[in-house]
Amino acid sequence: MTSEAPSSNEYIIHHLTFLTNQSPRGVLDFSTINLDSVFFSVLLAVVFGGLFYLAARRASAGVPTRFQNFVEWVVELVDAQVNDIFHAQSRLIGPLALTIFCWVFLFNALDVVPLDLLPGAAGASGIGHLRIVPSTDLNIVFGLSLTVFLLIIFYSIMMKGLVGFLAEFALHPLRIKGRPLVQTLVAPFNIVVELASFLARPVSLALRLYGNMFAGEMVFILIALITLSSGFAGLASLGGWVGTLGSLLLGVLWSVFDLFIGFLQAFIFAILTVVYLAGAAEHHD
């Protein structure tokens, strides 16, 4: 804490501002980059890829090491889910689910790094803003979900053909077999419903993760606010002690809970991806 403590408002805004190459202009600005999100996203991609590549290279059918055991446990966890949900043959789906699960979990795990640790260090070395949790960045979560969305479209067209893919919009959810006229009449309704549910997928996928992790980060900020104004000086009074110990306790509790949420959200993201792709690969008729 510096001698001049920031106000709560400043503190929160500071923690919600990305490190960018320039001040963003407007809601959509493709010349701006969130350097912190990209950095941590790539860093965790390297961590995940490196660890798993190491395990894959050393993998043998002999007695596994503990590390190999752990990696295999994760892979089997994902593989079991994929085999349960996705019945078509695909070389992509397993690795995709594994990547999403691990990568997103690593994103979320950064949420329990003490809130001011890295931004504080960055501030000391002249970097004004730093947000270390990539999954609290809309760009990151939409980057994931839009890629998945493209894959859904790609898979649908590959498995059903362009006509089959487009026809599904008109033929679902109301399917009247043997009555072409009635089917034509309900087609507009079908298209509206199907299009909405289709387009909602990437949005819900991204916002579910974003909302959970953003809320988690927000709670950490609020816990930090308890001792924001007093700092170490607060330890002079009994109330200061209560506040400090209380924020410590809350911080620990919320870290545990948030880690659990992070795991859950990563898992949900991966599983929903598999579910959507399974839906894309299957014929509904």
């Binding site: 919600l16 960018t20 963003p24 407007g26 809601v27 959509l28 600005d29 493709f30 010349s31 701006t32 980059i33 969130n34 999100s37 990209v38 996203s41 790539v42 991609a45 995940f48 890829g49 798993f52 590549y53 395990a55 894959a56 290279r57 993998a59 043998s60 059918a61 002999g62 596994p64 990696v71 295999e72 892979v75 089997e76 593989d79 070389r91 992509l92 397993g94 690795p95 995709l96 594994l98 990547t99 990568w103 990539p134 960045d137 809309l138 760009n139 990151i140 939409f142 980057g143 994931l144 839009l146 890629t147």
Partner: protein
Amino acid sequence: MNINLTLVIQMIVFALLVWFTMRFVWPMILGPLEERSRKIAQGLAAAEKGEQSLAEARDRVDAIVREARERANQIIDHAQHRANELVEQAKAAASSESARIVAAAQDQINLEAQRARDDLRRQVAGIAVKAAGALLGREIDARTHADLLDKLATQI
């Protein structure tokens, strides 16, 4: 909060990472996993088979031991029987031998007694002749009276 180039970068990084996992991680981990589970299954089957053959061997050993014990008992029985037989034979031989010795001794005794009796008779006959000679006052011709003397001797 705005949407910017980060989105595009994230999509590219994501695609690369998925490709990497697909190419270098997933098959290299699942392959050995399947191989290992196959190996473990084989090992378990082999262990079961080994256990089974061990039990079989144990049964066989039990049978062999039982048979050997039976044969040993048979041999012991046989040996005991044979020993008894030998003892009986020896007893019989000994008793027959002793009977033979006793009989021989008896014969000897009888012979000796007979001889003593003959001696005695002859002496008695001599004495009787001498006494008769003395009584008659003349020499009795042993040769002429031999028949008489022998008759006398047998009467004693």
